[in-house]
């Protein structure tokens, strides 16, 4: 067996949760668990997906939202055990896989056209 196949074999054993399909430009809500002492509770993070990086169980995605006039970005690993659920709120129509240009835009300019089916 080659190196790639062996690495694939190890990565195949890592469980990935059943998450909905989403890509850059979509607006999603990530429900993730937060541990406070011994208590666990859920928190939401809603924003625009900027990019998805990597593949397999080590893939990550970046979400950006504007919180009290400050841009906040968060990177989630796709196989993180803390992700409870992902809800896709809006499908955005963008031409790029990585929409970093959004960082330089504010207000009305920072809108993303919704995808028409």
């Amino acid at each position: 067996m080659g190196k790639q196949e062996l690495l694939q074999y190890v990565e195949d054993q890592i469980e990935i949760k059943d998450l909905p399909q989403f890509k850059a430009g979509d607006t999603i809500t990530v429900q993730y668990k937060i541990r406070e002492g011994s208590k666990e509770r859920l928190q939401n993070f809603q924003g625009v997906v900027l990019q998805r990086v990597g593949g397999g169980p080590t893939e990550t995605f970046t979400i950006r939202k504007i919180s009290s006039n400050v841009g906040v970005e968060r990177i989630f690993p796709i196989s993180s055990p803390f992700i409870e659920k992902i809800i896709v709120n809006k499908r955005g129509a963008v031409r790029r896989a990585r929409i970093f240009y959004l960082r330089g835009l504010r207000g009305k300019k920072a809108r993303i056209k919704e995808q028409r089916f």
Binding site: M1, K3, L6, L7, Y9, V10, E11, Q13, I14, R35, G56, P57, T58, P77, S79, S80, P81, F82
Partner: protein
């Protein structure tokens, strides 16, 4: 001690029970064959020789072919001697060792040859700080080593002074790497952290009890 010869496959990451994302290295470890048992009477010291890795017969010298034929195994690429092998694991000629000798959660040492970096300056090679400023009259000394010694006394540069030179491509041992996972059916060992060398390089895995 006990040990194996392995091959670096690549890196990935695994979430542990606490939810921490742990960087891991995947190693193909064994199966290794005992191709020689050395003892004090005939060799002057005690050791076992392990062999690992596929090798074509027409790439093997006749002398080595005979050596492998003695243990009745196909030619192997790497041979390595392990001294002070554990009494409990005392192996005989022709025995096959697999990842079973390790237990999940225990700590091993991994020896490999680091990636060659070529001729490097002191900033990369020894972590010198260089000159901090790009301005204030400074123009081409950003990564210079500075003084390498005093003048009239001792009038020479001390031996072992750290200077620019060849970096990497040397034997490096990483100690106390935790075994995260063992997959016996594919001879795979997953250890926490990184190991020296490029993917596909050969490694020595040692467990000291």
């Amino acid at each position: 001690m006990s040990g194996l010869i392995g091959k670096k496959i690549g890196m990935t990451s695994i979430f542990d029970e606490a939810g921490k994302n742990i960087p891991c290295t995947v190693i193909e470890a064994g199966p290794c064959v005992v191709t020689q048992v050395k003892n004090i009477d005939t060799d002057g010291y005690e050791a076992i020789q392990l062999a690992f890795g596929e090798k074509k017969e027409n790439h093997t010298s006749k002398a080595l072919l005979g050596h492998f034929a003695k243990a009745s195994v196909a030619p192997k690429k790497i041979m390595m001697e392990f001294t002070r092998f554990e009494a409990g694991h005392q192996k005989k000629f022709g025995d096959v060792l697999t990842v079973d000798i390790f237990i999940e959660g225990e700590y091993i040492d991994v020896v490999g040859t680091s990636k060659g970096k070529g001729f490097q300056g002191v900033v990369k090679r020894y972590g010198f700080k260089g000159v901090g400023d790009a301005t204030h009259g400074q123009h081409n000394r950003m990564r210079a080593p500075g003084s390498i010694g005093a003048s009239s006394y001792p009038s020479r540069v001390f031996k072992g002074m750290r200077m620019a030179g060849r970096m990497g491509n040397e034997r490096v041992k990483m100690i106390n790497l935790q075994i995260m996972k063992i997959i016996p059916e594919k001879n795979i060992l997953v250890v926490k952290g990184s190991v020296p060398g490029p993917n596909g390089s050969y490694l020595i895995l040692e467990r000291w009890s």
